[in-house]
Amino acid sequence: MTSPKGAASLAPTDIVPPKGLLARALGVFFSPRDTYADIALRPRPLPALILVLALIAATQYAFLSTSVGQRAWVDQALTQQEAWGVPVTPQSVAGVERMQPRAAIVAVVAILVVAPMVMAGMAGILIVVFNAILGGDAKFKQVFSIVAHSGFIGVLQSVFVAPLNYARETMSSATSIGVFLPMLDSQSFLGALVGSIDLFQIWSLLNVSIGLGVLYKRRTSPIAWGLLTTGFVIALIIAGIKAARAGA
């Protein structure tokens, strides 16, 4: 087996013992550097991706199969509609309510279709930045594998949030910074901003940064700052648009 060029000096494959999927899933949380070293040496994105999607989809399906979950789903759909400045009308309410019994299926399909595309898109952007701009030579498979494995943080979020959402009877973000700042109006710019910054997303970006640092043999902190800043800018733009549309 030949190592990818970017990860050639990490460690010989015969010294680093290969980790199983479960070990990798746990390693993402407890020893990310070692885990990502293994992932960089032996990139296998598909099993991780399938497991991540399956767990998240199963959690969402379980939650949205309940009447509480379905009501919360309708409420969340209307909240998002309002947040983007689209007025809630009897017609739009009726449209969303018609979808209510199929909320679990809709959510599972959305996860299975959208999540791989988002992960692939993110891996593609990172490849462009680190290979084309910063002169790295990692393969797409390696970066995609890192991104896919970081999805276990999303699994933890999903497992953590589902019972919370059930108890709260809402699907509004339970892990954003906004939960600590209830005094902010969610339709204001600041409210929308803190509502867009999710603690698990931050954790996930830091996790990906560690993976990228290991893969490209770079220090983690500049990568982390870069990703966090990018995420913050995206959150700013989203919050700005939401606040502007809600105000309009």
């Binding site: 949380f29 209307l78 909240t79 809630v88 309510e97 953590f160 339970a174 892990t175 600590f180 603690l199």
Partner: protein, 442 residues
């Protein structure tokens, strides 16, 4: 290394615990915060409030019967006067001259009448003399002792004397008529002279004085308020003349008790009773738009007690008690709302199934459903009763309206909690909406 992993795990658990705690601690309750009030039995009074002015029962506007300069003015505004008391004097000079002139004319006419009567006597004597002369000439003619010419002259003299007598008699009649005319003129002048002295026709106070000494008074006319010199009011009996809206007038009847408050005498109320209810609406003032005016009726409330220092024209408010109920179930007025409900063919309310999820505050009320055959839609008065965190629209039959409460004839019982506010919430609330009861406004 193991210790580091434990630390990471503990840190993650602590963070997740904080997130979970924050979610529950800052959990946003569903539904709007509302004020509620428990239903109790109360004593209610239906009150019709109307504003108007204090007026005396008797009000006399004094005007001049003759025009002229005011030479003596004995009263000021606010003076108390008694019946027959001198008020003012209009210059009598020209009227007195008219009386003197009339007297002289009458005397002259009477003198002339005497002369004319004398002339009638003279004419009568002349007629008698000519008649005798004619009779003599007729005898002489029968004896053929005189000429025909002499006889005819004597007869012509008789006719001339007769004519002269008739003329003199007519002159006397005419002069007598003239004397009557002169006498009437004199009476009129004397009457006018008597009117320059104006006295009070009632006991009361001078409430208005529009004239000053030296000014010229003009003869008063009904349609010209500017000709009123003085206004006298009998303040022994005063009343409140108020304007009652047409929607309230059917509830007002004679004899109903009322409480009157006078703006100029704050912190005091006076008792009265309804003595008069207008049958025709009050005509809008000239220049005001008819379409924008409310239709009001005049209601007179006589005050049952003496009010010192009261003045006509004081603005006042009369609270007329139109109905009284003791110990009835009552609901706060702001709690009552009107909703369109569906009734079946038996006139029973058809309740739609409860919504599967609570309506969001910003979510519009869903449009009414299509009616099935036999169903009708009617606007129904009711209140929102809080049950298990949700509101239920309960139709009520209302009785009289008190100051703050409606009497409830059916639909509610003591102990029910009804939503009383905020106003916008009650207005936009729908069956099944979740609410949070504000403990401060319970």
């Amino acid at each position: 290394m193991k210790g580091k992993k434990i630390l990471i795990a503990l840190g993650v658990i602590a963070l997740l615990g904080a997130v979970a705690a924050a979610n529950f601690y800052f959990k946003k309750d569903v539904g709007v915060t509302v004020a509620v009030e428990g239903i109790k039995t109360r004593d209610l009074e239906a009150i019709v409030s109307a504003s108007g002015k204090i007026q005396p029962k008797r009000l006399v506007n004094m005007s001049a019967d003759t025009s002229g300069r005011v030479v003596d003015l004995a009263v000021n505004e606010g003076d108390k006067v008694t019946r027959g008391q001198f008020l003012l004097q209009i210059d009598p000079k020209s009227l007195r001259t008219r009386v003197d002139s009339g007297s002289a004319s009458l005397e002259a006419a009477e003198g002339s009448l005497d002369q004319q009567r004398q002339a009638v006597e003279t004419a009568r004597v002349q007629l008698d003399q000519t008649q005798k002369n004619a009779a003599r000439q007729r005898d002489l003619w029968n004896q053929q002792l005189t000429t025909r010419e002499t006889l005819e002259r004597a007869e012509n003299d008789v006719r001339a004397a007769e004519s002269q007598l008739r003329e003199r008699e007519k002159q006397v009649t005419s002069q007598a008529a003239r004397i009557n005319q002169e006498r009437a003129s004199l009476e009129s002048a004397r009457y006018d002279l008597s009117k320059v002295r104006i006295e009070s026709p009632i006991d009361g106070i001078v409430t208005r004085r529009n004239i000053q000494e030296g000014e010229t008074a003009v003869i008063g006319t009904m349609n010209n308020a500017g000709t009123v010199l003085l206004t006298l009011a009998d303040m022994s009996v005063i009343q409140a003349e108020v304007e009652v809206d047409e929607t309230n007038i059917p509830n007002v009847s004679l004899g109903q008790q009322a409480k009157i408050t006078i703006d100029a005498l704050p912190d005091r109320t006076f008792k009265g009773h309804v003595t008069e209810i207008g049958n025709s609406p009050i005509q809008p003032a000239a220049g005001s738009s008819q379409s924008t005016q409310a239709t009001n009726f005049k209601v007179v409330v006589m005050l049952d007690e003496q009010i010192p220092d009261v003045r006509p024209g004081f603005t006042c408010t009369a609270d007329i008690t139109t109905a009284v109920r003791q110990g009835v179930v009552a609901v706060p007025i702001p709690a009552v709302a009107v909703r369109e409900l569906i009734y079946d063919a038996q006139n029973q309310i058809v309740k739609d199934p409860r919504p599967t999820r609570p309506r969001r505050p910003s979510e519009p009320v869903p449009p009414p459903r299509e009616l099935t055959p036999g169903e009708t839609r009617k606007e129904t008065e009711g209140v929102f009763v809080v049950r298990n965190g949700l509101v239920e629209f309960v139709p009520v039959k209302l009785g009289i309206s008190g100051d703050k409460y409606f009497e409830v004839l059916s639909g509610l019982k003591a102990g029910d909690e009804v939503v009383t506010g905020p106003y916008n919430s009650v207005r936009s609330m729908a069956e099944g909406d979740p609410v949070k009861v504000d403990p401060q406004k319970r």
